[in-house]
């Protein structure tokens, strides 16, 4: 009888014993999970993602719970929609349904800002390779520079699934830090005169037919050039087609709300579930966070420098600040540009131009990822 009681008690104490003997990485990750929950709940930093990710991280690091193991709840979420990439693609449908590409279509040349804003991806790729990361891991790390959470998850879950936790957390954390990362770079690279340039007010010039055809054109052109990225392009453009056609309001609303909410919850928990201490706490994780920061900073640098070039070429008609909005963090990057423009000229409203560049950045990030996947396929690496 006493043996049986002792055996039973050992079952209750096993978790605590593990935590104090082999569980130092779990303790650290419990603190990390707590920090993510704090940032989300108290500081309003991407709460929709950081709260499920933080909770998933806490759950998976409570010893012997086996939530992240075969048959565990978090593993089930992972298998359900991350391993097969369904969750990020459903998020893309929602993004497409929420995004108004109108400001971009008013001045389509602004799409090029969306291309310049992806340059950090490629510089970071070279850096990751220089640091010794294998090719596909380097691609997954560099894609943080797309400044686009679902794209980063899509690429990483496919080609470096063991890096999914750090890459996703880095991507979403830095996206939330865009208002802190962007302004110093924008100020350092532009003169005060450039920052005060007023741009001509955008006139409404896009018909509804053009808005409806736009997602189809992007899908066809992008899909033909970079077929490996068609799931990314196709889903975001499906959401946008539903929005602009106006005939499936129920589906559009469901994509924006119910589907996006449920998927975000499952996706966040699944990502948090990959953050088990022994697997997560490695020097590579720190390197990924460092390179992710660099990738997004370089995106902003490239965007502003491209803005300066366009400013010169147009005889000073374009405010180079809008180049910084060419990253994909929508609509935050556009708002930062607007605030920065107003800071130097109280009557300078850059929001519509910046929103155009920002939605260009959304397309740019997806196209860049699609290009990378198709080039990798062409090179026989995937």
């Amino acid at each position: 009888m006493s043996d049986s009681i002792i055996a039973g008690l050992s079952g209750l104490a096993a978790g605590v014993v593990y935590l104090f003997t082999l569980g130092l990485p779990n303790v650290v990750m419990l603190l990390v999970g707590g920090t993510l929950l704090y940032l989300g709940a108290k500081k309003d930093v991407e709460p929709l993602l950081l709260i499920p990710i933080g909770m998933g991280c806490v759950l998976v690091n409570i010893p012997l719970s086996e939530l992240g193991g075969e048959g565990g709840l978090l593993k089930i979420f992972y298998e359900m929609g991350v391993a097969n990439e369904v969750f990020p693609l459903l998020i893309f449908v929602a993004i497409g349904a929420m995004t108004d590409f109108g400001p971009l279509m008013e001045n389509p040349r602004i799409l090029l800002f969306g291309a310049a804003g992806q340059f950090g991806i490629f510089l970071t790729l070279m850096l990751a390779l220089a640091l010794g990361f294998p090719a596909l891991e380097a691609v997954s790390i560099a894609i943080i520079g797309a400044c686009d959470g679902p794209t980063a998850i899509y690429v990483t879950s496919q080609y470096a699934p063991h890096l999914l936790g750090p890459v996703s957390v880095a991507a979403y954390s830095y996206m939330a830090l865009v208002p802190i990362i962007m302004p110093p770079i924008m100020r350092a690279l532009t003169t005060e005169r450039e920052r005060t340039i007023k741009m001509v007010t955008v006139k409404r010039s896009v018909s509804q037919t053009t808005k409806i055809l736009f997602p189809l054109v992007v899908t066809l052109v992008g899909g033909l050039i970079a077929p490996k990225g068609l799931p990314l392009l196709g889903t975001i453009m499906l959401g946008n087609f539903m929005r602009e056609s106006g005939v499936v309001a129920r589906l559009t609303k469901a994509s924006e709300n119910e589907i996006a909410n449920v998927v975000t919850l499952f996706l966040g928990l699944a990502i948090g579930g990959t953050m088990e201490g022994h697997a997560f706490l490695k020097p590579t994780t720190l390197a990924i966070f460092g390179m992710g920061f660099l990738a997004i900073s370089l995106d902003v640098v490239a965007g502003v420098l491209f803005g300066k070039l366009v400013c010169k070429l147009t005889g000073g008609k374009v405010n180079p600040l809008i180049g910084a909005a060419g990253i994909s963090a929508y609509p935050m990057a556009a708002r930062v540009v607007q605030a920065e423009g107003l800071r130097y000229n109280k009557k300078n409203h850059l929001l519509m131009h910046a929103a155009g560049a920002n939605t260009g950045g959304q397309i740019g990030s997806v196209v860049a990822a699609a290009m990378m996947l198709s080039v990798l396929k062409g090179m026989g690496l995937i």
């Binding site: 390779l129 054109v217 196209v367």
Partner: protein, 46 residues
Amino acid sequence: MDKWTFGLTLTIVAGGGTFVTLWVLGLIIDLLKRIYPLAPTKPGHE
């Protein structure tokens, strides 16, 4: 293939491809706007 060849190929082809694709998309949108211009607002209508 060594890592630098890999990195530079991806940078040139994928980075360049992104620029070209977005430029082409911009041209197509411009074309669509010409083919389907915004109908002028009738007086008295918003």
